[in-house]
Symmetry: C2
Subunit: 295 residues, 2 copies
Amino acid sequence: MSPEGYLAAERRRVDAALRRYLPAPGKVTPTVRRAMVYSLFPGGKRIRPILAIASCRAAEGRVEDVLPLAAAIEMIHTYSLIHDDLPALDNDDLRRGRATSHRMFGEAMAILAGDALLTHAFEVAAIHPGALRCAARKVRAIGLLARAAGVTGMIGGQVMDLEAEGRRCSLATLIRIHRGKTGALMRAAVVIGGVMAEDGEGSLQALERYGDAVGLAFQIIDDILDLEGSSDRLGKTAGKDLRDRKATFPALLGVAASRRRAEAAADRAVAAIRPLGRRAGPLAAIARFIVRRTS
Amino acid sequence: MSPEGYLAAERRRVDAALRRYLPAPGKVTPTVRRAMVYSLFPGGKRIRPILAIASCRAAEGRVEDVLPLAAAIEMIHTYSLIHDDLPALDNDDLRRGRATSHRMFGEAMAILAGDALLTHAFEVAAIHPGALRCAARKVRAIGLLARAAGVTGMIGGQVMDLEAEGRRCSLATLIRIHRGKTGALMRAAVVIGGVMAEDGEGSLQALERYGDAVGLAFQIIDDILDLEGSSDRLGKTAGKDLRDRKATFPALLGVAASRRRAEAAADRAVAAIRPLGRRAGPLAAIARFIVRRTS
């Protein structure tokens, strides 16, 4: 299968899981469920949950064991977009080609829908599949997920980003911000895949290195696309980083050097998982795809 | 020990746990940690974590097994107050006798500090004590906690409340709103206490009934205090329900009938745990305290 075909098939799998794990329609107030669904679907590339699944397989685990965690990761990613777009934060009107949640449902509901997705992620992670199966691995994965999403990870990066806005910022600071904002959750997706594999322990070091490198490559390309892409293709406001005077890789290093850096990171990612052999093939393909993508 | 002495001692225990479980100062951006600490301390009555601890003991469990969950519950309660107070929601300036988080740190930081406390709660619940001890009970407790805090619980109640504002509202609707907004997390605190006790299974039904009744009693008294109390004593804006034309028990039933209803709920709570014998004494004392309190 081509990498594109593989990614499309995995995307459908992730979408089906997300639908299955949403709260049942009759059980919750319709508005908030509508707002959750609106931001979750059609959704973006689903790169994080696809990474978690591919990583679990690379560690010889079973897809059904990692699927709830993979869905939880995408719910957390989605909540972070809803809250980032709020007027008090990035104040953005466009996301994934449509009006942002607060433009669509009002600010109060957008705040609550974000809170709901974040909370529901942990419910899904804890209760599926079954309450007690692979409990020890699940507790460990939930701890990793919360840590990656929290103040030493994603929220930490978000806060640093907020405080760096409009200021000159060194490459070291930029890397720290990105490692938090995007890197932590992406790395956690990969590591959680390994943790949820029954005998994944031996693969974890390789997966951690892969996760680090792939997160960095992804963010550098994101910066380049924000600069060079059109809002149409990206489905979000392009050129936003410049407008908000945010530090980015192309702003600090230039586009060509940034792209080389992303390619080097993808090479490191591919090298890191070489010891896992053929079953890590999809992970290698994802790393290549990440630097090649145009949206 | 007097009930007041007992509650004060438990409060100190909870405060110490909350401090211990916060992210270490050197590891996170100072601003967001400052905002988390600001809303967590000095804090309110700590009634939810105290309920969880008392319930775990009533089910013959060990305090150290439930303490991380108890702290997580208080962090989730605190995040919900920060987000509720935001301009887009209740738009309140005063909480626990001080400026609300967004008045103190700005709206962006208040949103992020709330997100951070919610996320950190699940990290604390998952990683303490040790990663693997009592994993099955922990996964179950985390699932209950997320469900109680989510769209079928606290957030659901919050959404119903938002949508009912300014409208006439039946007693049945009011009870449904309260069961979500306050009842769900309070009930979960009690049930989680039983779940975290090694042999708590046999006590769970009694604890569930107790948790339901005590949550209702608490909320009715809250409504009465909002109407009759002063902002000074409550540490939050009194009379807010009237101002926002919110449905409350005293508005629908009058103060005297509301108080009788709260007392009847406390009686039901005490009756529910009678089968647990002497070790449930503190739970009974808490139920009595809840209807007697003046702030």
